[in-house]
Amino acid sequence: MSHRFGHMLGIEPLSAEEIVFLLDQSKPFQEIQRHPLKKLATLRGKTVALAFFEPSTRTRISFATAASRLGADQMNLQAESSSLKKGESLLDTVRTLDAMKPDCIVIRHSSSGAPDFVARHLPLPVINAGDGTHEHPTQALLDALTIRDRRGTLDGLNVTILGDILHSRVARSNIHLLAKFGCRFTLCGPAMWLPKELECLGPPGTSIRRITRITEALEGADVILTLRVQQERLHEPALPLDEYILQYQLTAERLRLARPGALVLHPGPMVRGLEIDPAVADGPQSCVLEQVTNGLAVRMALLFLMIGGADAPPEKDSSHAAD
């Protein structure tokens, strides 16, 4: 069965079927990354507006490349050089973009709920590329694709998430997604980043436990999601970097406590020697490079599904009326 999405604001409202559909539809785009000629004309004539109000190199490049490989044009807004600094409101900024008639808008913003706000005001499909500490849906999708490819399944895995979970939209989206497949979660980090309310994420009945000791948190893990250490956040409250490394760095030795062959994922950019030991980052269990390729595939699939067409009836070239 085919699914279509008016917006992609978050993982929470999606069903497991819709997620499986998205992952399946990403597969042809994984394949295209292996062609010598990676450019398609599929979305030729379409324009994707990239409105990044928060600095981001990787995600922006990933979306830009996705659009470009599908043959779409781009409109690029970068916060630093935008009139936002001159006091123009978010609404006015996106209305200006909208007046140039893009086919969709990909937005990253430091305020949770900003894509929801834009979606309520503009008649345009909106893709959330990360909003505040709320959600980062394409990250969760590419993580899921990576896990499914390596493991063959998403069902019932033990997932350990390491780091500043309180402030992580990546953690939230991943929990929302994997919980729909019955995964069990262990959240690990310093106590002030693990409030009790995190246990309420995901559908009712989701198994989430909070552990402050990394050794305990890694036992039995099938998947380890290492979060970025946002150095800005370490000052809130002040936690010396060395403390963090001592207590929470994912070292090769600590990784051995997890199940053999446990997958190590990281949303990037990694700081080798901080949250992750270089040996682990570059080791066989690390999936970071596949995550990047899969990010491109997932974003291409999403753009294709969201702006690839309109609802007109099929043309006569289909030899089968039902095809």
Binding site: L90, S110, S111, S112, G113, G132, T133, E197, C200
Partner: protein, 424 residues
């Protein structure tokens, strides 16, 4: 002369709940008598038929923002008081966080002059506790009292330090003025936009715990004890704060508190990124809300106050993080209170107290229906079905979380100084 006939008079001061006619002459209540008995005396009077209505003393709103001077794009004294009259209020107490701040007698006088010119409702300003409400030096409180303030507050912000609070309270005790505090611990507040809890985690919005308020309430109660000055806690929202007030009252300390209609109706679960649900203190947990309702009923809470905080649409139509705090409230306050009465959680007489004798007592006044008292009455129906539409509000602003809500019960007429200020 104005005769209010066929109404059910509910007068908390005397404990009366009985059919009575009320005759107003000039700006005073001339007589109160069983129905029909004032016919002779009321010859030539305008008659208002209050059949099927409750006739209560005029409602007093202890806490609102009229934005003038300085914020006229969101509200003016004229539009705000018109909305207040529609809500059944005969007197409102605007907070001093205008531009300029009401921290001296000339600003107080200019507000009162403006009100005299354009408002059909009494305006009793609250003066700033500190200059500019900056929390550094005392403002000209005595001069402002002479000019007409009824209380002192730095609302918008907490009174900055325990030391300043003590100075303000010592000073106000001598002037017999109550000190109203917006209780908030700034370090716990730190950039939060809603209550900390499951919902704030889900939405990825920064939250503040209940202790943000209750810590400051604890501080204020103890400083109050040192000074024996009347302390009134503004817009109390948490169960923990309520318990502190209860304990203070048990020790006979002069502590009072108010609760807003949005706090006794909504919870943090209602927040979804719609900025019409963003205010400070934020919507709290279900337990808090239920505790507030119990406090309204058992007398721990002295008054319902709206904290009517208008913001023009352009200001509120932004991302949740950036929107200013505040919701309007004049026109829905009574109806929301009646929801509690209809649900059996609050007796009607108690609701009327919360709008009349409760706030009056905080200000050191009376508010009752008796001969020679000021001719201020709020006439309302407990049954009239209606829908509140923000678009139709008399306020300049539209930021209400109750837009589209249907109600049972509404203000039918507001009488101020013997004249009809509003009739539905």
């Amino acid at each position: 002369m104005l005769l209010i006939s066929n109404g059910r008079v509910l007068d908390p001061a005397s404990g009366t709940d009985t059919p009575r006619d009320v005759l107003l002459d000039g700006d005073r209540i001339a007589a109160v008598a069983p129905p029909g008995q004032l016919a002779a005396r009321a010859k030539g009077a305008e008659v208002f038929d209050a059949a099927n209505c409750v006739v209560a003393p005029g409602f007093i709103d202890l806490h609102c923002h009229l934005r003038e001077p300085g914020g006229e794009s969101s509200e003016t004294i004229e539009t705000g008081t018109r909305a207040a009259a529609r809500g059944g209020f005969t007197a409102v107490c605007p907070m001093p966080n205008t531009r300029p701040v009401n921290d001296n007698a000339s600003v107080t006088r200019s507000i009162l002059e403006r009100a005299a010119a354009v408002s059909d409702v009494r305006v009793w300003p609250i003066g700033a506790a500190s200059i500019g409400s900056k929390g550094e030096a005392l403002s000209e409180i005595a001069a402002m009292k002479q000019a007409g303030i009824v209380a002192v507050s730095d609302d918008g912000r907490p009174i900055a330090s325990a030391k300043l609070l003590r100075q303000v309270m010592d000073y106000c005790r001598a002037l017999d003025l109550p000190v109203i505090d917006h209780c908030e611990d700034s370090s716990l507040f730190a950039g939060a936009v809603m209550r900390e809890g499951k919902q704030s985690i889900r939405l990825g919005l920064r939250g503040m715990p209940a202790a943000t308020e209750s810590l400051a309430v604890a501080r204020d109660v103890q400083v109050g004890e040192l000074t024996n000055c009347r302390l009134h806690i503004a817009h109390l929202s948490a169960r923990a704060s309520l318990e502190l007030v209860r304990a203070a009252k048990a020790k006979n300390l002069p502590v009072t508190c108010e609760v807003t209609p949005h706090h006794f109706t909504l919870t943090d679960e209602d927040v979804q990124y719609d900025t019409r649900y963003k205010m400070n203190p934020p919507l709290a947990s279900r337990e808090d809300r239920d505790a507030l309702i119990a406090g309204l009923a058992d007398g721990t809470v002295d008054a319902i106050a709206t904290d009517h905080a208008p913001h023009e649409p352009a200001l509120k139509d932004v991302e949740f993080d950036r929107a200013p705090f505040g919701v309007t409230g004049f026109e829905t306050a009574l109806a929301l209170g009646l929801e509690l009465v209809h649900a059996g959680k609050l007796p009607l007489m108690r609701l009327v107290e919360l709008f009349t004798t409760g706030p009056a007592r905080v200000l050191g006044m009376k508010q009752c229906i008796a001969e020679n008292e000021p001719g201020d009455l709020t006439i309302f129906s407990t049954r009239h079905d209606w829908t509140f539409r923000a678009e139709e509000s008399a306020s300049k602003s539209r930021n209400s979380p109750f837009d589209g809500r249907t109600f049972r019960g509404a203000p039918m007429a507001t009488i101020v100084a013997g004249r009809i200020a509003y009739r539905r």
